[in-house]
Chain length 436, copies 2
């Protein structure tokens, strides 16, 4: 499809964050042109004017905002079935008594359907790509291909499930940056891996000069226990073992020493912060302002729907700055522009999607239209601040992934009826609870 969107306000997220009036042209799955309306006119001119038939669709944006889609840089899509299943519980009971036993019941086919439900939720929140750590990569990949959604998967290697051979196999199988689905090396966490495993992971990363991804320093007790085992923090241990010699990202990073932060900076390891999950599970508040001051790259993730309980980047955007302000007792901490970068460009880079980071010629057409004709966006004093401080899913008018409009005006175009996906999720869950 070739699509032209005109009469738009445009935030490209390139360099500065100026917003201009202009248009964007999508040819196939790429951005062919983005620019100001006046520049456009002279650039094309009479001679080179495209015939009308070249556009499958021309969309009048009606002065609404076109911007890059949000990148959910850490999530567990398949956990949609556990939304609101177990909340308001202490963390250890939640995980060991409720979450793990239920996950053990999942079939690969279940994960296919539950991932589709998550993809629908991403689309409603203007998320155009997710970085998914979960089980059975092949059915997650199929869910994304079938829906037309962009997903980077990562390994969850640990002492109990997934082998190193599988990890390598998946890494090689889903390794085409032109494709909708990719796979990165990853492991669940320090506390679910033996030292021997961690050493093998480092060797694998070195073999392919590949970045690595893991949960790290999410809770105080996790860091404590690592200190008892190794006499150092998880971050220091990873540094010593060379696991992140080719970069990557650590998820959560709530409890970080100053030395830990220096390692993150030195090794160019991204932090993916998950403020919604850290709040609801009472894990704590990550030192985001300190990270940014040190020049560490910070991206945002929702974490899975069992812990958050939703997949909504507007919530994460408000929380990441709000909690930083509370932590610093300073309303000027972590400003709106920094937050928008985290939710878009930094997220894309954290998950290896440098071709889907900003709106520019040649980039993948992963973009959203934000409805500004809503009371929460008026008056239009500052659009970036409106997005971060008053924006909501209700403002997402259209979500395009890889040049295809998958969500528009509340309707999905993902190859399956929404109600079928809901029915399937309820059926899976009622099957599980009946068996008990």
């Amino acid at each position: 499809m070739n699509i032209r969107i005109y009469n738009a306000r445009i935030l490209t997220m390139q360099d500065g964050q100026d917003i201009f009036e202009g248009e964007i042209q999508i040819v196939g799955n790429r951005i062919a042109y983005v620019g100001k309306t006046e520049a456009m006119k002279s650039a094309i001119g009479e001679d080179t004017k495209m015939e009308e038939s070249v556009w499958d669709r021309e969309i009048d944006a009606d002065q609404n905002l076109i911007m890059p889609g949000f990148k959910d840089a850490h999530t567990h899509s398949g956990m949609t079935f556990l939304r609101s299943y177990a909340d308001d519980l202490p963390l250890s009971d939640w995980l060991n008594k409720q979450i793990f036993p239920m996950e053990a019941k999942l079939s690969p086919d279940d994960i296919y359907h539950l991932s589709k439900l998550a993809i629908m939720e991403y689309l409603t929140s203007g998320i155009t790509a997710n970085f998914d750590m979960y089980l059975t990569p092949d059915t997650i990949a199929k869910a994304s291909y079938d829906s037309g959604f962009r997903t980077v998967m990562c390994g969850a290697f640990n002492n109990f499930s997934q082998s190193l051979e599988e990890l390598e196999e998946w890494y090689l199988r889903y390794n085409d940056k032109e494709s909708l689905v990719n796979f990165e090396l990853g492991f669940h966490a320090e506390y679910t891996n033996s030292r021997e495993n961690l050493e093998k992971l480092a060797a694998l990363s070195h073999k392919y000069q590949a970045p690595m991804y893991t949960h790290s320093s999410e809770s105080e007790s996790e860091v404590e226990e690592c200190r008892k085992r190794y006499g150092k923090t998880p971050t220091a241990l990873f540094d010593e073992l060379g696991i992140f010699d080719y970069g990557g990202a650590c998820y959560h990073c709530v409890y970080m020493t100053d030395a830990d932060l220096d390692i993150m900076k030195k090794k160019n390891i991204y932090v993916v912060s998950n403020p919604g999950s850290n709040t609801k599970l009472a894990s704590g508040v990550a030192p985001i302002e300190e990270m940014l001051k040190k020049g560490i790259h910070v991206a945002l993730g929702t974490d899975g729907p069992a812990s958050n309980n939703c997949l909504d980047m507007f919530r994460e955007m408000f929380l990441v700055t709000g909690l930083a302000k509370l932590k610093a007792k300073d309303a000027s901490a972590v400003d709106a522009n920094a937050v928008l970068r985290m939710a878009t460009v930094e997220g894309a880079h954290a998950m290896g999607l440098s071709n889907a980071d900003v709106l520019a010629k040649g980039k993948f057409a992963d973009l959203i239209m934000i409805d500004l004709q809503q009371p929460n966006m008026q008056p239009i004093n500052n659009i970036s601040k409106n997005l971060v401080y008053s924006g909501s899913k209700q403002n997402v008018k259209m979500t395009m992934v890889n040049g295809r409009i998958l969500y528009e005006d509340g309707k999905f175009d993902i190859g399956v009826d929404a109600n079928e996906v809901y029915a399937k999720a309820n059926e899976i869950m009622s099957g599980f609870t009946k068996k008990e």
Copy 2:
């Protein structure tokens, strides 16, 4: 209008929070019937069956949820013009250099239009009544009457504006619980009133045996300064002066001693918590769990759009429990049912709207329909938890105030075109910024 809504899931918020399948009937501005479908059939029977023509409209709720509208128990509607005008600033600069000088430019007519914009935003978030502390009550009242929206106003008496005579006059003018608009006695804060003023306020409250409302203990410095002036906290001072002898509410209550909380309980003073504002302005986290444990009534407010920056009860609901969990380092703190009570029943009672608190025969028909056929509400493991932990404005399918549907499927019916309201807000703001 007489409206029947059937095939609904219903959460009445009476007593327990069970959800049943049933229907609700609205005759004029009141609820005429609410109950289970089976009970309904036998209750009406053949003989008493209403003729079809009695219903102006019959709505198939399609298994979506009908529940009482949210009550925004503390806000400043007229401040919509300052949304995203001044953010990411230290509190004192924000207030003194940006907010106060801009507010000084407002005309009563401006406040009329800006209140309408706020009303539209309330409706999108399922809010059916607001408790508004702002200037020029007559134009605020007109905005609510013209829109069909329910508003309780309260005084903002202080050393610099509003006289005690005006306060009394407004209290007597808008004092009909059958009306859409009411007025309660109120003052801005301890720090903007002399001791003499505070004593006069106490006398006025005693004269009418009327509850009182004010901002209190929002910031650490506010409490410190009161201690310097009077040797006690604002709450202890109010207690000594007898200002809250007939109840009422204090807004914010972030910095409260144990003795303060005991006073709130003893005098039956409601706390209206504003977690969004307290977060964005870096004010701090209120001790909600301690309040609930002491049996203090807690309601929720958005505060004004200059400090939040939106009027969204879903944000407040997630934050009030999320911040309590972080504060207690306990994921079980302040559960979803407690939050739903705050956002509905407690809010209604805090603002004197006992006739709009729950869904029951004879109550005002102030209710909302929540769209459960959305990915963030699926699967349906627990609707109350879905509302609090994953709900969003996007789920608000319909908002009814006083028996009239004012918002449905994204469209407003408030006697004015939405775009006119937006244009007016932008016009007001551009007039102000040009004059500078």
